[in-house]
Symmetry: C2
Subunit: 376 residues, 2 copies
């Protein structure tokens, strides 16, 4: 489906959504929209699907209810902006949408919105009611900070606001030092993954470490696609990994620091995040496995003691939060958590440089892959 078809579907859905509201008003005088509840109580860890998802609870937002009226207005205004964006063939940022919607209501001193959180929330309203993700509605957050390299071919269909389309081809084995920069929107109508010759996807938490794998052509030696989200991954990077997994049946392995923050980054690639639980079907990759680093690797690979970083209170607090997440209940993870607390240290991906710069690409990761030393 190309962008035009996709856009016309979305406009139809918007139209239908608006008509339903009008219809209700005409029939019963009740002006309301019905939308999924997004409080924590309606976030479910679905063991079968293997990801966090939104529950079934719905709530009504009523126009003639003082407590609801402003949010009703905000969601309606944002819906109108989305329709404009699509008709004009423009993409834009969350921040832009906020300013676009923010105005003083004539005859009052009241603004339509006062904070960006209000338009952001209205965009989530639309995502959940229409069943399209924000990026399909032409809205992104920031520029995208992911990087990719390896044996794949893709075509970007670059839609410019003058109505023209450029197609740009990328060969993942012939990229510059910066790799393929994951754009702010990677939906299939814009990023068409043509061909993948890889055996697996290796996701690397830190961009500086990804550079090591890229320079060492790890993707060539091990026939894989290397991805980094540069820290906590943004939505397009997670979406791209998700697409590689589902469209090309590639196993996904994730490599992070051995600390509670890195481990949580892994879990976000895998199960999704609490805030974006409604997007897990588009973003999560429940089959992802954890490749490293684990505290047990310290002994297994005989690291120098100088690489240990003493745990702080804030680390232990976060560790205990991880312990309680249902998706970390596996015995193997609980053992890792216990080991970290007992040994009292964390460890970074760069620790391998203590031996030699290419230890991580030449020994550590190959050994973990070969011996299948994964955590669930």
């Amino acid at each position: 489906m190309d962008l035009k078809e996709k856009d016309s579907r979305i406009l139809q859905a918007l139209q239908k959504w608006a008509e339903t509201i009008v219809q209700r008003a005409k029939e019963s005088g009740d002006v309301y929209m019905e939308l999924p509840v997004r409080t924590l109580r309606n976030v479910i860890y679905d063991e079968e699907k293997g990801f966090l998802r939104m529950g079934e609870r719905l709530a009504r937002r009523e126009f003639l209810n003082v407590a609801h009226a402003k949010r009703f207005l905000q969601t309606s205004l944002v819906a109108a902006v989305v329709a404009d964006l699509i008709r004009e063939g423009i993409t834009t940022s969350l921040r832009d949408v906020y300013y676009r919607v923010k105005h003083t209501i004539p005859g009052t001193r009241e603004n339509t919105v006062d904070q960006q959180t209000e338009t952001d929330r209205a965009i989530v309203d639309l995502e959940t009611m229409l069943g399209f993700v924000r990026e399909e509605l032409h809205i992104f957050s920031k520029g995208g900070k992911g990087k990719v390299a390896g044996p794949f071919e893709l075509v970007e269909h670059v839609y410019t606001s003058d109505g023209k389309v450029r197609t740009v081809e990328f060969d993942g084995t012939n990229l510059g030092m910066g790799g393929w920069p994951v754009p702010p929107i990677v939906e299939p109508e814009r990023v068409e993954i043509k061909k993948v010759d890889a055996d697996f996807v290796l996701v690397i938490e830190k961009d500086a470490v990804w550079q090591r794998f890229h320079e060492d052509k790890f993707w060539d030696e091990h026939n894989c696609i290397i991805v980094t989200g540069s820290g906590q991954a943004d939505r397009p990077t997670r979406r791209f990994v998700h697409r590689l997994h589902y469209e090309f049946k590639l196993p996904v392995y994730v490599l992070t620091d051995a600390d509670p923050w890195g481990w949580y980054i892994y879990s976000v690639y895998k199960q999704g995040s609490i805030n974006l639980s409604y997007l897990s079907p588009q973003l999560a990759t429940p089959a992802a496995k954890f490749l490293g680093m684990a505290i047990s690797d310290y002994h297994r690979f005989n690291f120098d003691r100088t690489v240990k970083i003493k745990l702080k209170d804030v680390d232990i607090k976060r560790l205990n939060e991880l312990r309680r997440y249902p998706w970390f209940k596996h015995k193997e993870w609980q053992q890792e958590f216990d080991l970290m607390e007992k040994e009292g240290f964390k460890m970074e991906l760069e620790a391998g440089a203590s031996k030699y710069f290419r230890f991580i690409t030449k020994e550590y990761v190959p050994a973990k892959l070969e011996q299948k030393l994964f955590l669930p």
Copy 2:
């Protein structure tokens, strides 16, 4: 000069530097290195050159001085690591260098280094003593977060650690949505700018706003190169802008939020930063001009009052710091500072969306360019 020639020059310089130290030891028994003082007192705002630079003061670091011995050791160890990196054809991160150098000194409980700041500082020692920048010494910080598009052609010579070189060509008018990702190292031996058909360079503070300019093909309509550093610019982005200016005589205009933080980002592109004053000859672009946003633009372009963001104490504090920087002493800037304080608000690049999404690319920037409404 290709990478091999460059590398052999650096190895020669390292060799000579080391031999000088040995020579001195043999002749007088004095083992010392001489290096520029890097305290604030030796940072000079050079009005003639138009940038911050390091002064002439030198200091000795002596091996047989208890206060100096450890730093002497650290700098020597890092010098050895740099020589290894160059010989092995490897680039790496500051964090990696830290781990590479960190070891317990045999027979003691003392580590060579305890914090990354120590190896970072040693790398600066080498930069200032050898006259090569860190990136020429094969060391980068992070992955690079800049993006570029427009009428230019460049070739990346991608050196991989197996000794092979790939050349990858980029046409800046045919890039994906993510543009050309500025790699962690943009020295000429790796990034060769072949051809530039642009009339000027437009630097945009925020990546989400850069996306607007890219989608609207501003670079085509106004025949320019658009660059973003995604907030405070990293070294490679500043270096690339510097190269565009000096190698192709392009004027550089900078577009930031109308707030003290955005204005400081502008000044870093232009005059360099206090911390990296010794790098201004490689990084600064003193001829850069400020295109916007200014507080005076609020009235000039008749913005809606809802775009005003009330100044906080921390903004006013920063504003007063800016007032005192010698490079902001121009009358025009001081008037802007006064105006901001008097009116009590700041304003963001996204404010234009309050009118319509493409206001910034269709009206605001074209008008500022046409009427040459620059600040120095």
